[in-house]
């Protein structure tokens, strides 16, 4: 039983082939991470799952249904939430309004429950609820981005580099929240990260991407122990 299965996906930016035949699987309740260098195509893969850009070849199936050719908003409405790279919160809208936008696809009567749930996970957002998104710190903005994604009650949460530009202590906090969401709500998480050490420690399974191809996959612990992975992504870091 797989929740998301990506098979043989090729994606192009104009004539540049960013993904060169990617196969990847995510099972319900897992945290799966995708690590790789800058420009390897990690974010492109996440965005291709969301249909923007669209896969030129191959297929993407979510929960048994083919979503390869669907428009982005239709894919999101099937139960995939995407916290895009760079957080992309709405700076002039308040925290509460940002969260409300996250609930666009949800039923209005669930809004209060979902909001309470997000405030339990991120108490800081409750304190800041009437503040504008743009006035939050980087870490708070990232929490808001994740919280906003959770408001849609997704079955799969796509996180694109949640540690980007954050202080080490804040990164730790964010990662422990991701684990919490996964364990308490059995949320399936697909995490794209540059911060390979933290991501692999957190994830059940991991994939390594080089130049638009998956070169390695295994459990988080296996990849952490792998000498190639250590040499390429962890040396000097930890």
């Amino acid at each position: 039983m797989t929740l998301l299965s990506i098979s043989g996906v090729h994606t192009f930016y104009g004539r540049i082939e960013a993904l060169r035949g990617v196969d990847l699987e995510i099972r319900p309740g897992e945290i799966v991470t995708l690590i790789g260098a800058n420009g390897a195509g990690k974010s492109t893969l996440l965005m291709t799952v969301c249909g923007h850009p669209r896969a030129a070849k191959g297929s993407i199936r979510f929960d048994g249904g083919d979503i390869t050719r669907l428009p982005t908003h239709a894919i999101i409405r099937r139960g995939i939430a995407h916290a895009p790279e760079g957080r992309r919160i709405f700076p002039r809208m308040t925290v509460l309004e940002n969260l409300q936008m996250g609930a666009t696809t949800g039923a209005p009567q669930q809004f209060d429950d979902d909001l309470a749930r997000v405030f339990v996970i991120f108490p800081i957002l409750q304190q800041r609820k009437d503040q504008r998104g743009g006035t939050l710190s980087g870490g708070e903005q990232q929490m808001l981005a994740i919280g906003r994604a959770l408001m849609a009650r997704p079955r799969l949460l796509l996180l694109d580099e949640p540690s980007l530009g954050l202080a080490p202590l804040v990164v730790k906090q964010i990662f422990s929240v991701i684990r919490e969401i996964n364990e308490r709500q059995s949320m399936t998480v697909f995490l794209v990260e540059q911060n390979a050490y933290h991501a692999l420690k957190l994830a059940h399974r991991g994939y390594v991407m080089v130049n638009g191809r998956i070169t390695l996959h295994g459990t988080g612990a296996e990849l952490l122990a792998n000498s190639d992975v250590r040499a390429a992504y962890l040396e000097g870091g930890q």
Partner: protein
């Protein structure tokens, strides 16, 4: 001039006479370049069929350049003294300069006060403005001219509020808004003349036509953003205008359409002597006939239309589609990733904004009784956009203030004839210098919490 320099020894040497002369010289050079083609040559006709000749007016050029040169020197000297007074005033505490400074700073300060104030205060200001607007025709000093001015200002307020949906809320820069205004006006004129429909029957139809054109424009430009969108909408505005000029059989071309029926008060016409078998407004209510009755009625019609636009916008901001507009303005990519369909969201913004322009257009047609493509030139779009931008994008109260300021003040300088656009320009520059984000840049949140033991 030597005395001037001696008077103000505290100024650094670069403020000296040489610098002032250099500055004036540069200004004179620039004005020479401008004055040569603008003033220097003039085409004069010899009457019909005898051709044209070029007249050279070097004396005009010389006068203009000398005027700029002298003016620039005077301005510099005055500024310097002004600064000196300011400096002294600042030290002493209540110099003349201080007072001038305070006066100059007062206008933008009003905007700042309004913005910093609590929502309750802004609501009070809005309420006061509404009360004045409602009572306007009844004020003793309001004559026919001021009543007409009120109608014009309210028309622009309504158009500003309509465009605010597109530009302020959805963030789609539309330079061709007047096209929808034109569609509304021509819809009403043609429907009324050819199908004998009244104003109130035509109003929704005109709105629907304009909304349809909004969607027609919206489709091809959905993928465009910012500057590119602005250019295409600008083109669209011109296309509509040129169609109106050239589609002679339908629009009567540049001659325009005249004899557009005036609105009636629920079937009672405003006329001194109504046609046989009808009762005029003044007869029905047993009043003396006065031409201001019709104007006052028009005033309340446009006031009602404007208020409908405002209430609609205030309400829709709290609905999912209105929130999606604002989110789309902030970040389109984030919107996609939240499951919002950007295409439909933009189309609704275009269509609804266009619809209100259509309402405004049919009002314009019935008020004027005559329309021609000349009324729908780019400058109208520019004025409406200026009202929205100067008011503070997305601010409803800001639109009112900007419309009153720009239209009212420009009217105030009507005596200056063609130079009154200078007053308009100066108003715009002044607002942008003091309030670069518009008079009221504040944005009210659409949701606050007050449920489940939460303290709002």
């Amino acid at each position: 001039m030597a005395a001037e320099t001696a008077d103000t020894p505290q100024h650094p040497p670069q403020d000296g006479i040489a610098a002032i002369l250099k500055d004036a010289g540069i200004a004179a050079l620039i004005s020479l370049a401008l004055a040569l083609p603008l003033f220097g040559f003039r085409i004069v006709g010899f009457g019909s069929g005898r051709g044209l000749a070029l007249e050279e007016r070097w004396d005009w050029v010389v006068t203009a350049v000398l005027a700029v040169f002298a003016g620039r020197i005077a301005l510099n000297l005055w500024l310097r003294r002004f600064r000196a007074v300011l400096a002294i005033g600042g030290r002493v505490g209540d110099g003349v300069g201080d007072k001038i400074g305070q006066a100059v700073a007062a206008a933008p300060r009003l905007g700042r006060i309004l913005q910093a104030a609590k929502p309750a205060f802004r609501i009070a200001v809005a309420g006061a403005l509404l009360a004045v607007a409602l009572a306007w025709p009844a004020f003793p000093f309001v004559d026919r001219y001021l009543l007409d001015l009120g109608v014009i200002v309210l028309t622009y307020v309504m158009l500003g509020w309509g465009l605010n949906i597109v530009v302020g809320l959805a963030g789609l820069l539309d330079l061709g808004y007047v096209a929808f205004y034109a569609v509304g006006a021509y819809s009403y004129a043609l429907l009324a003349l050819h199908f004998d429909l009244g104003f109130w029957e035509c109003l929704p139809l005109a709105g629907a036509f304009a909304a349809f054109f909004g969607i027609v424009l919206g489709f091809p430009v959905l993928r465009l953003r910012g500057d590119y969108l602005a250019i295409v909408t600008l083109g669209f505005g011109e296309i509509i205008r040129i169609i109106l000029i050239n589609w002679y059989p339908v629009t009567n071309g540049p001659n325009g359409i005249s004899g557009i029926p005036r609105p009636s008060f629920f079937g009672l016409p405003f006329a001194a002597d109504p046609p046989e078998g009808t009762v005029a407004f003044h007869q029905f209510f047993g009043l003396e006939y006065a031409s201001t009755q019709r104007i006052a009625f028009l005033y309340y019609v446009i006031l009602a239309l404007a208020l409908v636009t405002n209430l609609f916008t205030l309400r829709i901001r709290r609905l999912p589609v209105g929130r999606a507009w604002e989110a789309l303005r902030e970040d389109e990519i984030a919107c996609r990733s939240l499951g919002i369909n950007p295409r439909n969201t933009k189309l609704t913004a275009f269509a609804i904004g266009a619809m209100f322009a259509g309402f405004g257009g049919s009002f314009f047609a019935t008020r004027q009784g005559f329309i021609s493509p000349e009324s729908f030139s780019f400058i109208e779009s520019a004025i409406i956009l200026a009202i929205v931008v100067l008011g503070g994008m997305g601010s409803q109260l800001g639109v009112v203030l900007a419309a009153v300021l720009l239209i009212g003040v420009t009217e105030f300088f009507r005596e200056l004839e063609q130079f009154r656009m200078l007053a308009f320009g100066a108003g715009m520059v002044a607002i942008m210098v003091w309030r670069p984000r518009g008079l009221l840049a504040h944005r009210d949140p659409t949701i606050r919490l007050h449920a489940r033991g939460e303290k709002a």
